[in-house]
Symmetry: C2
Subunit: 213 residues, 2 copies
């Protein structure tokens, strides 16, 4: 039974658009859906999200950053994800444990075995049934986020820390995500996200329909 679906992938791969499209599709089929995200799916998480993505002042130490993401996740699982799944709702979550492995592990070089242990404390056994990995070349993804920021200047979105980081880092993250997908091909399905959004949506619906039936 597919109840808990996560969306993973680099910045600008279209996760937010696609998660909304899938939620509309499932809702139209009469399935109760909850859309949530990390960091930020709880009050605590919203505060941590601001700290993580708009940090001013002293730079956040890599291990401190890791623990903030884990604190966000632990609260998110306990307060939102687990109760919703238990109530029979389909939970669609923008980023989850694989992001920790891809960003902090493959990206920043923290030990993967240790990160998996940390994840298992944070998720407390709540694992995704299906993960959609939205994959596209790093320059395509970052080009989209640059465009998005230019378009919405009136909303004063801050150029966030991650988006300031180098292409090299994002390349490591992308190949990390793809390695994870090769390790768990049943759970993690790679979706080519360089295509037009409509085509990506159709591909995702097909995967989800098959997984649910």
């Amino acid at each position: 039974m597919v109840r808990f679906v996560t969306f993973e992938g680099g910045d600008g791969t279209g996760k937010t658009t696609q998660i909304r499209a899938l939620a509309s599709y499932l809702t139209s089929k009469g399935k109760a859906c909850l859309v949530t995200r990390e960091p930020g799916g709880t009050d605590l998480g919203a505060m941590l999200r601001r700290v993580l993505l708009e940090a001013g002042g002293a730079p956040i130490a890599p291990s401190s950053e890791l623990f903030l993401y884990l604190a966000d996740r632990a609260q998110h699982v306990s307060e939102v994800i687990r109760p919703a799944v238990a109530a029979g709702t389909i939970v669609l979550c923008d980023r989850y444990t694989d992001s920790t492995l891809a960003y902090q592990g493959y990206g920043r070089g923290l030990d993967l075995a240790l990160l998996r242990q940390f994840n298992s404390v944070a998720d407390d056994g709540t694992r995704p049934d299906l993960t959609l990995l939205l994959d596209c070349p790093v320059d395509v993804g970052l080009g989209r986020t640059a465009h998005r920021q230019k378009q919405s200047q009136s909303d004063a979105p801050k150029e966030d820390r991650f988006e300031r980081e180098k292409l090299e880092f994002h390349d490591k993250v992308r190949s990390g995500f793809l390695k994870l997908a090769r390790q768990e091909p049943e759970r993690i399905r790679v979706v080519d996200a360089a295509r037009p959004a409509e085509e990506v949506s159709l591909a995702i619906r097909e995967i989800v329909d098959k997984a649910m039936n």
Copy 2:
């Protein structure tokens, strides 16, 4: 060489008073001293301290709480403790890794081996040379914090989450601290904190003088 000294113990054992007294003493002997605390020794930490001790809204999940303390520590080590120790300053820190073991481990029942591993990521090899464990019966300590709160009502101190918790929890924490001291008697020195503050200060000076010479 004793450079990094931590103060541990339950609420109301006099850590704040004693750490200040020791700092005055060391400064009067011409030694540069930095007094800091967890949670809260950095800008990030100050914010996390507010979250942890004055939480409103949904209760913080135990594992989320743990990760917030670790995030605070990782930042504190990287931004404050390690640079100060490297510069030859004596660092006096109010709570550190032993508090994680006593509160989250012995108090809340999280796995001690795992907590030690988490601590080692957060402290990144920065370990105390000396730890002063201020020990007194739980009812004495909690009686002091109740008195302190009554005295300073005009400052509107919130009764914090920890201080609302049951005596039973604090008993487990106290005996946890004492177990840690038995495991590392060279580093962790137990100081009877039920005595008048002046006597406690003298006992601490004696331990520190011996350790430094």
